[in-house]
């Protein structure tokens, strides 16, 4: 690493280094690249006290991210709540379960705001004018919103059957949508070919090594919000498989920097049964991924050929964790369970995480007394169609007290009548 660089790209397999440039795979062996850091230098620059003094967003971990010397830190992404989920814990038979709630990550209500915030600093550094991505929805929203604020032109590629709310939540920011007749894997392959030919900043193709580092902030925050200690277990939804590997990387970096005590955290992955290439690999005890054709309501997780599937399975198996998957009805049950017990409305991907966690507790793979964090990565307002028909239509009553009394009698069979007349 040259003396003025605090980070650079390195091949995950052959460890060749490539400086800093918009490429996602090793030009020698074609394996994925990731960002490597000058830890000796960072160790002298970072402290818990200094972090505590900074604004509550992901920029507070700036030394641990691949940011240019000059960057725009105006995105409010990150530092979402970590909430103790006591009522959910009663259902799961857990005494120490927490929700990392990225359903309220700013500005677009998913964890993708984190990765885009980091990717756009590098898009600026490399001089791109157009930013782009292949997306199952949340990423599209995040790129569109942050590109609008930062003055990039955004062109977003999506599968043609994406949820209407996710399409609207992209178009409203003025982004150009390109709908592709095909599933996410078709879109993704096309984007690799476009990025090979056109000079566009694809956040999850040629900017991917930088982009993916933004996910580490989920891990830093969990540790800091637990009082600078690591949980025993994390349960993480998996689409491309990157997030779970980056939380693992984050925890290891904090250990290496002496910011937390060493602990072997178990990593648990969650997928939809209708798109479960990574959980199928884990259950078979292998790292190699066999692609699938996705068929699930959890469209934000519907990636049949996950880029980091191999590394996700390896991380899970190496940690002593496991993976589970959830059917469509179980996903909806997971969404309503979280809403009714904790007041958190998550999208289908969050339903997958809750449903998978439920199975992992029932199987005894997660112990009730261990501190376990469920990563909720997106907001339920974006996938309301998944709940269509779940609730009865409510008939209106006339605006008369007598009508309300009748309603009470009918609906509550007199159970609340004793409250009549109370102030």
């Amino acid at each position: 690493m040259s003396t003025n660089q605090r980070y650079e790209l390195r091949c995950r397999e052959c460890h060749a280094t490539w400086g800093n440039q918009p490429i996602s795979f090793c030009q020698t062996c074609f394996a994925p690249l990731e960002v490597a850091y000058d830890w000796e230098r960072i160790r002298t620059e970072i402290s818990k006290d200094e972090i505590a003094r900074r604004p509550t967003n992901l920029w507070r971990y700036k030394e641990l991210l691949p940011l240019p010397e000059q960057y725009d830190a105006s995105s409010p992404a990150g530092f979402t709540p970590l909430v103790k989920a006591t009522k959910l814990g009663e259902t799961l038979h857990s005494r120490s379960v927490y929700i990392k709630n990225d359903a309220v990550c700013f500005p677009t209500l998913s964890f993708k705001d984190r990765v885009v915030a980091v990717a756009l600093t590098q898009a600026r550094q490399f001089g791109f004018e157009v930013v782009s991505c292949s997306s199952t929805g949340n990423l599209a929203n995040a790129v569109a919103a942050q590109a609008a604020r930062s003055g990039f032109r955004a062109c977003i590629f999506i599968p043609a059957d994406l949820e209407p709310a996710k399409v609207l939540n992209t178009q409203v920011y003025g982004a150009q949508i390109i709908r592709i007749d095909g599933n996410y894997d078709h879109v993704n392959r096309l984007c690799s070919q476009i990025a090979d030919k056109h000079r566009w900043g694809f956040v999850n193709v040629n900017l991917r090594p930088y982009y993916a580092e933004g996910s580490k902030t989920v891990g830093y925050e969990i540790a800091e919000q637990l009082g600078w200690r690591l949980p025993d277990n994390v349960v993480v939804p998996m689409a491309g498989g990157s997030l779970i590997t980056k939380i693992y990387k984050a925890f290891n970096e904090l250990i290496q920097l002496g910011l937390v005590e060493e602990k072997q955290v178990k990593f648990f992955g969650a997928q939809a049964t209708g798109c479960s290439p990574i959980s199928a690999a884990v259950k078979a005890g292998r790292n190699e991924i066999e692609p699938q054709k996705p068929q699930t309501i959890a469209r934000s997780l519907a990636i049949g050929n996950p880029a980091d599937g191999y590394y996700a399975a390896k991380t899970i198996l190496g940690s002593g964790g496991w993976a589970e998957d959830a059917s469509d009805p179980e996903i909806v049950d997971g969404m309503t369970l979280l809403a009714e017990s904790e007041g958190i409305f998550t999208e289908t991907a969050g339903g997958v995480t809750v449903a998978a966690a439920r199975k992992l507790y029932a199987q005894g793979r997660i112990s009730p007394d261990e501190t376990t964090v469920l990563c909720i990565t997106g907001n339920g307002l974006k996938t309301t169609d998944a709940l269509a028909g779940r609730f009865e239509a409510v008939e209106p009553i006339s605006p008369k007290l007598a009508a309300f009394e009748q309603y009470l009698e009918r609906e509550f069979a007199g159970a609340h009548a004793s409250g009549k007349g109370a102030a």
Binding site: G182, S192, I303
Partner: protein
């Protein structure tokens, strides 16, 4: 019978700059053999030391991942094969 292979830019320094290659291969195995014998420097990028197709190399036939077609898939006249060195996304 003729099959057209699209060669990504990362491979082109091993193919004298050629971005497509036509051959009469019957299946993936013979296609990789044909590519390797025409462009010997490409060979180690297509297969690992055990002779398996490299983990991060993705092969598509007319937009379909070849793993869905089966490893013994027999090419048809006019099939378009795309090599993507490392899939990204997610």
């Amino acid at each position: 019978m003729s099959v057209t292979v699209s060669i990504p830019s990362a491979f082109r320094r091993h193919t004298e700059g050629a971005d497509t290659y036509n051959c009469a291969a019957a299946d993936l195995n013979s296609l990789l053999e044909a590519l390797s014998s025409r462009f010997p420097e490409l060979k180690p990028h297509l297969r690992d030391d055990q002779g398996n197709v490299r983990r991060f190399l993705n092969v598509y036939v007319n937009d379909e991942d070849i793993r869905f077609l089966g490893k013994d898939y027999k090419f048809k006249e006019g099939d378009e094969v795309t090599l993507v060195p490392s899939i990204a996304g997610g």
